[in-house]
């Protein structure tokens, strides 16, 4: 109870500051819209090659996972400036739970992601995506798990490095292989065998496959199961890492 209350105080503070900056809200909403309208049409002529019937049903899940990962990767940058202002230290001298300090921030990131995901899915249906509601709900849930994992990891990284100059290259180094090997934009199945085998080692590819499968209503498929397993595992690891960083005495 007390933990939830403390998380909520932190969450409310974060949300208040974000909403006060309309540019932030706008960019957050524009992102999915731009991807959908500027990249989505490129896939249409390739439908046959990709082996899909409806390119939107294929494309929207990929966008969802990308939103979940990439938006959240940058969550930590805000934390660095908060740390520099002394806010983190001020919160850490209060008796509030250290995990709540992280959790409140994660809730903010997840709320942002949820709103973006709803906009994206809504627009997807509007342009002709064909997906069962249950599959969409599961897909969005998996996305939130991935986003939570990335946001927690980003916060942990921020509090460890305490410097944008160190953090930016690290995130770039992580993002490149994730983007190229997870099949977000194009499916890995159209690539050569060795590339497919390489992408087997990329947890995010399994998750992307899982979200796609769930949008197709293919719940029994292996894809959905492995995607869900990976999403839960990543979320648990990142949460543990983030909490450990916030708990660490010298952060």
């Amino acid at each position: 109870m007390q933990f939830l209350r403390e998380s909520f105080i932190v969450f409310r503070r974060q949300l208040r500051m974000n909403l006060r900056n309309p540019a932030w809200v706008l960019i957050g909403l524009m992102q999915p819209i731009l991807y959908l309208f500027l990249f989505g049409p490129l896939l249409k002529p390739m439908a046959e090659q990709l082996g899909v019937q409806n390119t939107w049903t294929f494309f929207v899940p990929g966008m969802l996972v990308q939103l979940g990962m990439f938006g959240a990767f940058f969550a930590g940058f805000g934390l660095i400036s908060e740390w520099r202002d002394g806010v983190i230290e001020a919160e850490r001298v209060t008796p509030a739970s250290r995990t709540a300090l992280l959790m409140g921030r994660l809730w903010r990131d997840l709320l942002q992601l949820l709103v973006q995901a709803l906009v994206l899915v809504g627009l997807g249906y509007w342009v002709g995506m064909d997906a069962p509601l249950g599959g969409v709900v599961l897909g969005v849930l998996l996305t939130l798990l991935v986003g939570g994992a990335c946001a927690a990891a980003s916060n942990a990284l921020a509090l460890t490095t305490k410097s944008e100059d160190v953090m930016a290259p690290v995130i770039n180094v992580v993002m490149m292989p994730v983007l190229l090997l997870s099949g977000i934009l194009l499916p890995m199945t159209i690539g050569p065998d060795w590339l497919q085998r390489t992408s087997d080692f990329m947890p995010f590819r399994w998750i992307t496959d899982g979200v796609r499968g769930s949008f197709l209503g293919d719940f029994g498929a292996n894809g959905v199961m492995w995607g869900s397993v990976w999403a839960v595992v990543l979320f648990a690891i990142a949460l543990w890492w983030g909490t450990a960083t916030f708990r660490k005495e010298n952060a």
């Binding site: 007390q2 403390e6 105080i9 932190v10 409310r12 503070r13 208040r16 500051m17 006060r20 900056n21 400036s81 908060e82 520099r84 202002d85 002394g86 806010v87 230290e89 001020a90 919160e91 850490r92 001298v93 209060t94 008796p95 509030a96 005495e249 010298n250």
Partner: protein
């Protein structure tokens, strides 16, 4: 209120391939009684902030123990946090947040209700001359206002022990003097115990009952300002002689009441028309000296008697002046670059 024994903090450093260990705090013993205002003085990098961060539970001691407000800083850190207020060097509020919101949220993290936190916060805004700034963003406030806002944050839950880390660093003299009155009020108005770090001698002198001096991670002195100054042998007497030909003669007279230094050398210093020496209890000795000089027909342009300063104390204890120590000290590994 504070009892620390053998506090140690070591940091791992790395220079190229060479790994090293810095003992930022090296066996610190501290005792602060209830209601005391204690100044924790030392050059930058001496270990002040590191000690403070251990006492406020932000940093786990490498070795040693400390109880703060009756609770162990490691085993009962939550109770310690509940009982203390901490005003850090780096501020406590988001640049773009609103001052009042920050204060209320901070109070709520201490378990206060929103209404209580707001009432208490507004009361503190009044006491610390921040009326009308409740809705302002900290980035639009002056340095002095921001420091006072940090103090409001530190006092929101009415702690009985307040830690202030370099409260006036970076403030202009007027804002500094103003903040001093507010710090003095902490005890006067609410009977709080105050532990403040500073590298300004005048600040430690003006605000604290007792001064603890730290250098290279070790406590080198702890006493009242007056007692510390008494360790410096004598007051400085400075005579300006009117007739240059009589300077040597005046020096001889001054020598008769002056301290000899530890080597038994003559401690009188001649500098142009000026003759200086340390004299024990100058207030008592000087009238005799003046009579002596008059009898010898030596006229003076001026006479000055200077009580020892804390800088003299530091010089006596370490052989360095505090200003030299500042420039040669390594950066405090826990302090944040600004």
């Amino acid at each position: 209120m504070i009892h620390a024994r053998g506090l140690v903090q070591t940091f791992q450093t790395r220079e190229g391939r060479k790994k090293g260990e810095v003992r930022a705090v090296d066996g610190v013993d501290l005792d602060v009684a209830e209601g005391e205002v204690v100044g924790f003085l030392g050059p930058n990098g001496a270990g002040k902030t590191t000690t403070l961060r251990m006492l406020t539970t932000l940093l786990r001691p490498t070795a040693g123990t400390a109880t703060v407000a009756g609770f162990d800083v490691v085993k009962e850190s939550e109770q310690v946090r509940r009982s203390i207020g901490y005003v850090s060097q780096s501020g406590a509020t988001g640049q773009f947040a609103r001052a009042g919101d920050e204060v209320v949220d901070h109070g709520m993290l201490y378990g206060m209700s929103a209404a209580d936190a707001r009432r208490r916060g507004q009361e503190l805004f009044g006491q610390l001359d921040l009326e009308g700034l409740w809705g302002r963003q900290p980035k639009t406030m002056s340095g002095g206002q921001r420091r006072r806002l940090d103090i409001v944050m530190g006092l929101i839950h009415e702690p009985t022990l307040v830690f202030l880390d370099e409260p006036t660093t970076g403030l202009d003299p007027q804002a500094r003097a103003n903040l001093w009155t507010h710090i003095a009020d902490l005890r006067k108005r609410r009977g709080a115990t105050v532990f403040l770090t500073t590298h300004y001698l005048d600040e430690a002198d003006a605000l604290s009952d007792r001064i603890i001096i730290i250098d290279h991670g070790k406590i080198i002195a702890a006493d009242t300002s007056d007692n510390l100054k008494a360790q410096v042998s004598g007051d400085l007497v400075d005579l300006e002689v009117a007739d240059p030909d009589l300077v040597a003669e005046a020096a001889k007279r001054l020598d008769s009441i002056a301290e000899t230094d530890s080597d038994g050398r003559d401690a009188v210093e001649i500098d142009g028309n000026h003759v200086r020496a340390r004299v024990q209890r100058a207030g008592k000795a000087v009238p005799g000296l003046l009579a002596d000089l008059r009898a010898a027909d030596i006229d003076l342009e001026s006479i000055e008697v200077l009580r020892p300063t804390l800088d003299d104390v530091f010089l006596t204890l370490t052989g360095r002046s505090l200003r030299d120590a500042e420039s040669s000290a390594p950066a405090d590994p826990t302090s944040k670059e600004k």
